[in-house]
Amino acid sequence: MDKVQDNRAWFLIIPVFLIVAFSAVIPLMTVVNYSVQEIFGPGQTFFVGTEWFEAVLTDERLHDALVRQIIYSLAVLAIEIPLGILIALGMPGGRSAKTSLTLVLLALPLLIPFNVVGTIWQIFGRGDIGLLGATFRAIGVDYNYTNNSLDAWLTVLVMDVWHWTSLVALLCYAGLQSIPPAFYQAAKIDGASKWAVFRYIQLPKMRGVLIIAVLLRFMDSFMIYTEPFVLTGGGPGNSTTFLSQYLTQMAVGQFDIGKAAAFSIVYFLIVLLFSFIFYTVITNSGSGEKK
């Protein structure tokens, strides 16, 4: 059969083309454009080449924020992923009131707006009226998230665990529910221990959702902004100033648009790089032929 040549077909992709252009390509290119200019005001721009990128890459404060950010994100993953799996394994299966109740309870933290989470924890941790802070004070633990860097850092971490572990648990739960009962029955008949069932059935079957969980939690925690901003404002000192907050200070606080644009691009590339590494590692572990 002869193919009909009709260039009007191109019209059909115009809507997609426009949406992608306006939502992704043009904004991104604007940032690229800013990153190579010195901007004093509307119309007063000068081309500066790679100067901003050099400035960003040698910025000591940025290095500190980056290291802090990486440690923070890895800690988030190290806690939330195993904890989420454990919770999912302990959840009741089937269609019962118990299941529904568990699902609703788990979903609750996910429904709370980010700045409300920050506020909740701000009050929760206060030594005078907060449940956590007051309890610590009562049992004699020296805890003060507004003064002590470590306390502040730990509070931000625990807050994230409180807020987002549910997501990991729900994803893993969905993964577990999709395992046909025959697999458990077969394992029982094969005499597999509980650990073997987890290692050889549950974990491999959860691999798909775990990729999503790790990527989501990594990207989100790597871009965390609202909660620490509300809770600690990045302090004390710079101890909880993560990349997003530093970027905002630069762009909105100091109005260093060009430098902030260069920073944004580097930031974006770092997130992309890490996500790629995680994805590759998890996809290749336990699947396909090794070597």
Partner: protein, 358 residues
């Protein structure tokens, strides 16, 4: 290997069953011999999977007991019963190699490595998996995966019984045939007690020494394929086994004959009290004789159609208000005008309320 006994076994998914329909498996007492191949045959929802799960220990029956070699195992887990089971869809451990998959049940039971290796290679040989042993199980075709599932059942030499729950559903017809023969060979070689659940009569009849036909939760007949064919004890067996199934006609009883639409058909010489219930007369198409009218004991009929099946012919005839099928030899001539049928007494079966009475 073990003899399996059912003692007043029954199961209902209702908490308080009252009527027979509440039972997924109706009362059953039976003994299954050691080292034989059994098939559980029936349409979906007939209770065959319920019975299988009770035998394997995945389900505790609500009534009665299961005994292995005289030992009550009703409440034992599958491991305690030492059962192997192969499921409808292949169950494999994705992250393991084929070898590790086959070795898994043995390693879990702390069998010495040398014995594991010997058994695994033996079973892989029997199932044609030797070349795949080093491969990752996940990357194999569905039928190879199902072979692994079977292999994990066969690898333990000391199992009480191996249970198959429609294991060939996902396999293509040709491989199905090969695998069934493989299983049959393995059975003959090792004399394992095998129980095979299926809704496919060909599968059941070719695989098993004895076939248990199930219908609406009841086991309506347990017998060799020949017994099921020649002497169906329930109209369902007659209907379900054989293609086409048995010819059935409602009838009333005379002294030594049955009356179908006023036509007398001689009955086997057995005293049947003509009381109660609904009577039906049955004869398999293979046993119905087509002749010319006028010969002794024949009933004139009208031939309405003939299907040539290649190796045999299937004639459709009308007798009174009933349509009957008769299977004939390729060579046999079919009388066009003066056709008649004969009911050989030996193969004419009388059923009361679906159960064989004479």
């Amino acid at each position: 290997m073990a003899t399996i006994q059912f003692d007043n076994l029954g199961h209902s998914y209702h908490p308080h069953p009252t009527k027979p329909e509440d039972y997924a498996l109706r009362r059953l007492s039976q003994e299954w011999e050691d080292g034989k191949a059994y098939a559980l045959l029936g349409p979906s929802g007939c209770g065959k999977s319920t019975l299988l799960n009770i035998i394997s220990g995945l389900l505790v029956p609500s009534e009665g007991r299961v005994l292995f070699d005289g030992l009550d195992v009703t409440r034992c887990t599958p491991e305690e019963r030492n059962i192997a089971q192969v499921f409808q869809f292949p169950v494999i451990y994705d992250t393991m190699t084929v070898y590790e998959n086959l070795a898994f049940p043995l390693r879990n039971r702390k069998v010495p490595a040398a014995d594991v290796d010997r058994r695994v290679r033996q079973v892989a040989e029997a199932l044609d998996l030797t070349d795949d042993l080093k491969k990752r199980a996940q990357r194999l075709t569905p039928d190879a995966k199902q072979k692994i599932s079977m292999g994990r059942g066969l690898v333990r030499s000391d199992v009480a019984a191996i249970l198959f729950d429609e294991p060939l559903t996902v396999i293509d017809p040709h491989t199905k045939w090969i695998l069934r023969r493989k299983l049959r060979q393995i059975h003959e070689e090792y004399r394992l007690t095998m129980i095979y659940v299926t809704h496919d009569q060909v599968e059941a009849l070719t695989f098993a020494d004895k076939v248990a036909v199930m219908y609406e939760g009841a086991m309506v007949q347990l017998g060799t394929p020949q017994e099921l064919f020649e002497n169906p004890e329930h109209t369902f067996v007659g209907y379900f086994i054989g293609s086409p199934g048995i010819n059935l006609m409602p009838c009333t009883l005379g002294n030594d004959h049955a009356l179908v639409d006023g036509i007398a058909i001689p009955l086997p010489d057995r005293a049947v009290p003509a009381v109660g219930g609904k009577f039906e007369l049955g004869i398999r198409p293979e046993f119905l004789e087509l002749t010319r009218s006028g010969s002794a004991g024949s009933i004139p009929v009208q031939v309405t159609g003939v299907d040539d099946l290649g190796t045999s012919k299937l004639a459709t005839v009308r007798m009174g208000n009933h349509t009957l099928k008769a299977r004939l030899n390729e060579e046999q001539e079919i009388p066009a005008l003066d056709a008649a049928i004969r009911f050989p007494t030996r193969w004419t079966k009388l059923y009361r309320d679906s159960h064989l009475v004479g």
